[in-house]
Every structure is written in structure tokens, then in C-alpha cells.
């Protein structure tokens, strides 16, 4: 019995370990790479153990001026830009979709389904498809090179609205009616009942949307042209391409590792809420 159990346990473990190795190895290489000097990496023989230059690399990447080379933005600046962009997109999307889903799910008003389908249709048009007209609008509004220009077009989309609507439809009518009899108006019901019940969903969406925002590439590339507004994803690609001399692999890898940290932090912060939601989630 025990032997059998350990055998059936072994296979899933093996698969998991293999999976982790496949996914984690490149990250490990980047981590190790960020602790050697550019020369060592450049020779193509990157050791698989950490080297001595980690401190210097990170310091230079975050705050340094990279030896007087032109056109350089410190990573701390780019991370801040990315963070603000991802955060505004995440919070904006969640707030707007909560409210619009609430309207569509709980209120009967003329044209309700028309609005719902209009929202739904935007799902079918990803940012890339509507990028040219969107850029036209944003530049006419003078929002190029601003955080508003960076975030507003990405906030307007329906994914989360649809998700929240489906969740709201599972809230029993009786609960809504009980609240009516208790005297809770629509806004009260939203804040006192709907919002707390949506916590798990919000936490999960927060993670997804934050990573979505953090990883945006095409739109920031288009709508920002000044160095000060550069986001980290763009920063990394620029480091790769434009260098006329030796590529600073050590700094690129340090930057990559740094770019990983905020999404990881968000996942860890939200993990607690949605694990709690899963555990609490029985009806």
C-alpha cells in the first residue's frame, strides 16, 4: 500500500520537477548572468554559478549612467513608469468593469442588452487592431507622452466586465431582495454585499491585469517618444538592439531580473486572498 502510494506520487512529482526545471532554467541563467561582468558573458562561456559582480551590475542598472554613454534611462525610472502604467490600467479596468457589470447584471434599463453587446464586441478587437485610430485620437487629444495616453486606451476593454457580469449573475435574487427589505439602496448593496463577495475574483483579475499592463509593448512604443516615459519592456528591447559596441549582457540580465520583481510581488500579495477565497468558497 505504502509502496504503491509513493510510486503514484512519484510520477506527478517528476513531471512537476521537470516542468519547473524547464521554466526556471532560463531565469536562473539570467540571474547568474547578472552577477558576472560583460566580458565573461560576451565570450559565450557563462558559468552556471554566481559571479562576483552582482552588486555593481544592479547598482549600475538601477541608478547608473552607464559610463557616460548617451541615451540612457536608469532602470529605476523605467520601472516606475511601468509600475504606474500597470497599476492605473489594473485599477482602472477593475473599477470600470465592476461598475458596468453591476449595471448590466442588476438593473433593467432600456437598451441594456445593446450596451452589453457593445461592451462584448470590444473583446473581439485587440489593441493591435485598433491601434492606428486609437493613436490618432490620443495624439489629437495631446496625450502623447503622458501617463493618461499610456493607460486610458488600455483601460477600455470588456474582458473583466464580462467576467464580473457572469459572477454577479450567480448572486441569488433572494439575496438582492433581502437587502432591499433591509433597506440597502443600490450603492449600499454594491459596497456592502457585492464588493466583498467579489474579493476573490478581484484578486485574481488584479494579478492577470497587472501582468497584462506590465508587459504592454506595442502601445507604449507608439505613444511615448521621450526617454523619460520609457517603460521597462521597451527599455530592455532597446538595450538589445541599439548598442553599436559590445552588448551589455550583464546589465540586460540584471534589468530582466528586476523587471520580474513587481509582477512576482503582486502574485504573492494577491495569492493569500484568492487561496482564502478558494478555501472559503463553499456555498
Amino acid at each position: 500500500m505504502i509502496a504503491r502510494r509513493s510510486w503514484t506520487d512519484a510520477i506527478p512529482h517528476l513531471v512537476l520537477i521537470l516542468g519547473v526545471a524547464v521554466f526556471a532554467f532560463p531565469i536562473y541563467v539570467a540571474l547568474v548572468g547578472s552577477t558576472w561582468d560583460a566580458g565573461t558573458i560576451g565570450r559565450g562561456r557563462l558559468p552556471l554559478v554566481p559571479g562576483p559582480d552582482g552588486w555593481a551590475n544592479y547598482d549600475q542598472a538601477l541608478f547608473g549612467d552607464r559610463g557616460g554613454r548617451i541615451s540612457y534611462v536608469p532602470v529605476s525610472q523605467m520601472m516606475w513608469n511601468s509600475f504606474v502604467m500597470a497599476m492605473v490600467i489594473t485599477v482602472g479596468k477593475i473599477v470600470i468593469s465592476l461598475l458596468s457589470a453591476y449595471a448590466v447584471a442588476f438593473f433593467r434599463f432600456p437598451g441594456r442588452m445593446v450596451f452589453f453587446w457593445m461592451i462584448f464586441i470590444t473583446l473581439m478587437l485587440p489593441v493591435e487592431v485598433r491601434i492606428v485610430p486609437t493613436f490618432e485620437v490620443i495624439s489629437d487629444l495631446g496625450m502623447v507622452n503622458t501617463f493618461a495616453g499610456l493607460t486610458v486606451p488600455l483601460i477600455a476593454s470588456a474582458t473583466a466586465t464580462l467576467l464580473f457580469r457572469q459572477f454577479f449573475l450567480t448572486i441569488p435574487d433572494e439575496l438582492v431582495e433581502a437587502a432591499k427589505i433591509d433597506g440597502a439602496g443600490p450603492m449600499r448593496f454594491f459596497f456592502d454585499v457585492v464588493l466583498p463577495l467579489s474579493r476573490t475574483n478581484i484578486a485574481a483579475l488584479f494579478v492577470i491585469l497587472f501582468i497584462y499592463g506590465w508587459n504592454q509593448y506595442l502601445w507604449p512604443l507608439l505613444v511615448t517618444s521621450t526617454r523619460e516615459m520609457e517603460t521597462i519592456v521597451i527599455g530592455i528591447t532597446k538595450m538589445l538592439g541599439t548598442s553599436d559596441a559590445q552588448t551589455d549582457w550583464n546589465l540586460i540580465m540584471a534589468t530582466t531580473i528586476l523587471a520580474l520583481l513587481p509582477p512576482v510581488a503582486v502574485v504573492i500579495a494577491m495569492m493569500r486572498t484568492f487561496v482564502k477565497g478558494l478555501v472559503d468558497g463553499d456555498k
Binding site: 433581502a178 432591499k180 427589505i181 433591509d182 456592502d192 454585499v193 456555498k283
Partner: protein, 360 residues
Amino acid sequence: MATIDIRSVRKSYAQTEVIKGIDCAIADGEFLVMLGPSGCGKSTLLRMVAGLEPITKGEIAIGGRVVNDLEPKDRNIAMVFQNYALYPHMSVYENMAYGLKIKGMPKAEIDAAVKEAARILELGPFLDRKPRQLSGGQRQRVAMGRAIVRKPQVFLFDEPLSNLDAKLRTQMRVEIKRLQSQLAVTSLYVTHDQVEAMTLADRIMVMNAGVAEQVGTPLEVYRRPASTFVAGFIGAPAMNFMPGRMGADGRSVGVDGGLSFTLAEGAAAAGRPVTLGVRPEHLHPANEIPDATTIALRVELVEALGADTVVHGRIEGTSGPILARLPGTARVAIGDVLPLAPAPGELHLFDAETGRRMAA
């Protein structure tokens, strides 16, 4: 504290009318049970009293004040739902306190009211729990607690016990009755369970397809059902019906199969097609009842329930089954022919066309 007046109330959803004109005056402190089969409009009527459904036509007044245009919260009512409808993320205490908090009642008063309700309902040890950590019966008690803390003028119940198992249902039924008489709050109670209706009600409104067939005390409804529907719905097993025709004397009824029964009171209307009803418990062995028409029942099925024995059979020459409820000591076998007779004064006469009670 409050009377409820339901005046010619109608309700339509789009083209279909589901409440077809109901009138009823409920006295202060009365417990009225609305009883009827599923889909007959009981909940709809209750929800119109609650203010959860607009009233298509007619008027509802609570405590003399017409409430048609009032929000539920302004009607001074409390409602207990079938699925409890507790706020899942709030503790038992918060669930009960929520309505009071919205009203803006001071914290100390809320606390006193909740503690008092918890004491009455024996919920003290559970105040910090979430609804999902409670059993069905406890959840239902919290739902009742939420209703009583508000000290409403009217309690509304929509099948509050139908999610509980049989034993708990009986227990909660007693508890509801006790609470209601203790608090003396006018109550409307919806159910499709006649035992609940008979045991809880001061008066029962028997509903069918959007009309109130009869409003009366439990015994009135049982003893003098106003229509074949009520007669068939109240009482288990259901009343036996025999189609027949009034005799020329206006006192006797000839039923299909050739038998003739004499009624206690006359109903005139000679020659009219009628339905004669007799309850299974009112059929007795013929030798116990002198001078009565004897029914020869050919036994097809015997259900021995212990206290009673329910016999299913047929009168020779007729098609409808007849049930009789005999004492548990009766020895009956399938195939026997039992001579039975209705107890005096226990025959019910209905108009065959309208189904309404005629006399007897």
C-alpha cells in the same frame, strides 16, 4: 399592530395574468397561510405585499396605509426566504444587525436588539460564525432573527421550511408558531404543505391558478370546503369524488354506478349534474352506520400505516378509485368486497360545472 388589506389585487406578467383578483382582510396579529400548488401565484402575492413586485391592479394596505407605491424598506415588513438569503460574508451578528445599521440605529440599541433575538432563538453561541458554518435549521433561525430584530408590523414567510428535513421542519414549525403568538405580529406565510398550513394558520387562504378559492379557519376549510379544488387539496388521502345527478326530491343524489345517497340538507336544483364528495376517513364499515347507503368496495390495494389502514378500491360498475381510511386493526385483503358507508353529515355536494359547493 397592523392589519393587511388586499383589495382586488391583480398581477400580470406581460400578457399572462397570474393573480386574478384577490380580496382578503387580515386582522391585526393574525397568522394567515397561503396554501396552494406550485405555480398558483402564492409567492407573487406575497412579494406584492413585500413590495418586491409592482401591483398591476388593486390596492394593498398595511395598517390602513396604502403601500402600493412604497419601497419595501418603508413598508415596515420583514421577510424570511426559502433559501435563507443570508449575507454569506457577514457573521450571524452582522446579518441580523445589517438592517438596523442602515436605519441608523445607535450601536448600543442594535447590540441589545441582536442579543435579544439571539436569546429568543438560542443563537447566542453562533453570533460570530459565518452562515456557511451553520446547519440548515440554524441558518433558518438566523433568517428569522434578522426578521424579528427589526420589530416589523408584518412578517412575510415564503416557504421557509421547505429546505429542511422532516424532523427539523416539525421542530421549526412549532418554533415559528410559538414566536408568532409570543410577538403577536401579523403574518403571511406561503406554503404548499397542508400540514404546515393546518398547524400554523389562524386562517388559510387556499389558492388555485391565481384566485383565492376559499379563506377560512383550518377546520372550516376541512369541514366545509368551498370547492372541489379545496376539497381535493386539503386532507390526505384526498377526498373521494363521485359524479352524479340531483334527484327529483332535491335531497338525494344518484351517482354513477346506481347508488343513491341522501343528504342531510336539501339543495333543490333537481336534476342538476353534481359531484358528491366523501373523505376517506369518513367511510366506515356499513354495519356501524345504520340506514345509510352501502358502498360495496372491491379492494385493489391495502396500505397498512400502523395507526390507519388505507384501502384503495372501486365500486362495481364505476371507474373512479375510492379510498377509505380504516382503523389500523381492520383486516382487509386484496380482492375482498368491503361494505362501507359514509358517516352521517359527512357528504359534500358540489356543482359539477362550477366545482363550487352547493350544500351538505
